[in-house]
């Protein structure tokens, strides 16, 4: 298990995450773990009470979690959004753009490689969940 990487200023949430089914059955939990096939829209009515949503990436090739992350941010979720599992350094910049702000990778991520990777692209083409300004907006003010 690699170190937890966080891009937030608040304290890490320490309540154990419950499954989506368990959460929907006993709605006082504040941390949820979402599997890659789960429909995160089920959480939307409850976002105000959730401090941590952990999205599982069972294999790095399974990209469903990228949509889950964006959907949660689009719905107004501001708590911690964690990508957990087979998370590789080259994916972290894309995950950041989809709204993830913490990472629990199975294998250690090299800090220097990650830093270079996150700093590499000065510009992006699309609006996503990270607030980066797309180049079409820079072109037209």
């Amino acid at each position: 298990m690699g170190d937890l990487l966080r891009f937030r200023d608040d304290e890490a949430h320490d309540e154990p995450a419950v499954t989506l089914d368990a959460f929907l059955g006993q709605t006082n939990a504040t941390a949820v773990r979402v599997e890659s096939g789960d429909d995160v829209r089920a959480l939307i009515p409850h976002l105000g009470q959730i401090a941590l949503i952990e999205v599982s990436f069972p294999k790095f090739r399974d990209g469903r979690g990228y949509s889950s992350g964006r959907i949660l941010r689009e719905a107004g979720y501001t708590g911690e959004l964690r990508a957990a599992g087979d998370v590789l350094v080259d994916q972290v910049p894309l995950m950041r753009r989809c709204g993830f702000d913490s990472f629990a990778p199975e294998a250690e991520i090299d800090a220097a490689t990650l830093e270079a990777s996150l700093a590499r692209y000065e510009h992006v083409y699309q609006t996503a969940a990270d607030g980066a300004v797309p180049v079409w907006k820079l072109r037209h003010g």
């Binding site: 990228y66 689009e74 894309l94 990270d130």
Partner: protein, 543 residues
């Protein structure tokens, strides 16, 4: 054509550095081959049977002389002196060293080119009509839409790990020269109430389960395009199958859900996505469109052509197409010489085509999905000079859309997925029908060969299709008839038991003889097949 500004250049330059770092980490062992694979694939780098293959993007098949010359330079410096133009309007090099790949990308970046997303489970190069901007039948130039999609899809954060690859084509005419409905998303620009919009088809494709895409939306304006396509992709990314690589394309999802249910889900998602403000303003669309303004045509250019050289006249009739501007024509350069490898060109040929584009075609070239090259805007008065230069370089086969204008995948000569060779079959068929008079007598006949069921050679869409399979350790070739990738899209059907390498060439000759005997006036091979059905062909083949 489109020119990069500082933002486009910055993004492509960043990609070169990123890939340089990824290759270094692979070579040092920090990345396993399993981890490196999706990264290199998203940069068009495949590990083939003998070496790495690098596929370079030619967005919507459009490039200028300087870019074309760079493709020749790469062929000479890093490969074995040639390149291979592909059915997705790209070029690939078959003999690349991993260590050289970052340098090649750096060279490409100097001419606004790259290999971004030419492979991998992401949105691939956007393809389009090779006659865009030149064809009389288009409602508008489709390339501004394609460029909008190119930018939106480049490094899309949500859609870089899709269930499977994703291909988008944009056309703007009723005649479909890009096999639009055999793409994951096909867009046909249409005019409605004097407004331009796209008809959206989703879920077409070839591979082992070929499907013609159903229409999902009858009209979407440019100002909603990206939101709509984003909604289409999001439904796919969330619900496309990931348990079986052979069922992971969007066509399977739509087939399983039904087009109506898929459409309903997309419409719901579209409402949510539209509110996010991801569509650029009209000013951005106008900025891109301005790059595709018509070149400075000479309004006084003459329509007269001296046809006194009979060889030139044959080429003129077969390979030159009508242009929307009086006095101009569209030149098709066939990369299908008899006995050659379909789509291959040497560095010298590539450079010559670059020269001709600069001198005679407003510095523009196109790559076609049939693996040929187009000079889109040539003055009729210059056609003879262009033909002479092409002919001297072996680039003037007068066989466009004839039986020897074969689409073929690289097959077992290069590809690690193939079950059988494709190139030698193409060569043998072209040689059997080498006589141009005989080919012209057969008329339009699209023959397409794949060396495995992944169908990179588009055999499902061939008037005559050939599929190579492995039968107990020997190569065996199935024959298919009646496919079309054009506006009358249809999927070819298998005739019956397959043939060996020589038998398939005989079988092709047999079915063309059935056609010659049965055709009525004006019928192409495909028309006769559709009228008389499979039986007469089967009877001749197996009776």
């Amino acid at each position: 054509m489109y020119k990069y500004d500082q933002y486009d250049q910055s993004i492509v330059d960043s990609r070169v550095e990123e890939f340089r770092d990824q290759v270094a980490r692979r070579l040092s062992g920090a990345l396993s081959e399993d981890q490196f694979k999706p990264l290199r694939l998203m940069n068009g780098l495949y590990l083939q049977l003998h070496a790495y293959m690098l596929r370079v993007a030619v967005p919507y098949g459009t490039l200028d002389g300087r870019q074309m010359r760079m493709l020749g330079h790469i062929a000479r410096k890093y490969d074995r002196g040639y390149g291979h133009f592909t059915t997705r309007q790209n070029i690939q090099y078959n003999w690349i060293k991993l260590e050289d790949a970052p340098e090649i990308l750096a060279d490409l970046a100097t001419v606004e080119m790259h290999a971004i997303q030419t492979s991998g489970n992401c949105i691939r190069n956007i393809s389009s009509d090779q006659y865009a901007g030149a064809a009389a039948d288009e409602v508008a130039d489709p390339r501004p839409w394609a460029e909008l999609l190119r930018q939106w899809s480049s490094f899309h954060p949500e859609f870089s790990y899709l269930p499977r690859k994703f291909k988008i084509a944009v056309i703007a005419a009723d005649e479909d020269r890009a096999a639009m409905r055999l793409h994951d998303i096909g867009i046909q620009l249409v005019e409605r109430d004097r407004e331009l919009g796209g008809r959206i088809f989703v879920g077409g494709g070839m591979g082992r389960t070929p499907m013609v895409a159903p229409e999902i939306k009858d009209f979407i304006g440019a100002d909603d395009l990206l939101s709509y396509v984003e909604a289409c992709l999001r439904v796919y990314n969330r619900y496309g199958r990931r348990d079986n690589i052979y069922k992971a394309r969007i066509k399977i999802l739509i087939h399983e859900l039904g087009a109506d249910e898929y459409r309903r889900q997309v419409e719901e998602e579209f409402k949510l996505v539209k509110a996010l403000g991801i569509d650029p303003p009209k000013a951005e669309f106008d900025r891109i469109t301005a790059f595709f303004a018509p070149p400075a045509f000479d309004a006084a250019a003459s329509d007269a052509i001296d046809r006194s050289d009979p060889d030139f006249a044959v080429w003129l009739d077969q390979n030159v197409k009508a242009h929307k501007q009086p006095g101009y024509a569209i030149v098709n350069i066939s990369l299908k010489p008899v006995g050659g490898i379909p789509g291959d060109a040497t560095a010298e040929q590539i450079e010559l085509m670059a020269d001709l584009a600069e001198r005679y075609a407003f510095d523009e070239l196109r790559v076609t999905h049939a693996q040929n090259i187009v000079l889109p805007h040539v003055r009729k008065a210059d056609l003879y000079a262009v033909w002479q230069a092409l002919d001297a370089a072996g680039l003037a086969p007068a066989n466009l859309d004839l039986i020897s204008d074969i689409i073929a995948c690289p097959g077992l000569d290069y590809c690690s997925l193939a079950n059988a060779r494709s190139i030698p079959i193409a060569q043998k068929i072209a040689t059997r029908f080498a006589d141009l008079g005989r080919q012209r007598e057969l008329g339009e006949l699209k023959l397409k060969i794949s060396g495995c069921i992944n169908a990179c050679g588009h055999h499902h869409a061939g008037h005559i299709g050939i599929l190579g399979v492995d039968k107990k350790g020997t190569e065996n070739y199935q024959l298919l008839l009646g496919g079309s990738g054009a506006e009358d899209a249809s999927l070819a059907r298998i005739t019956g038991p397959g043939f060996d390498e020589d038998g398939i060439v005989d079988a092709v000759e047999t079915v063309t003889n059935v056609y010659l005997g049965a055709r009525e006036s004006g019928e192409r091979f495909l028309d006769t097949y559709r009228r008389v059905g499979m039986e007469p062909f089967k009877e001749a083949l197996y009776g």
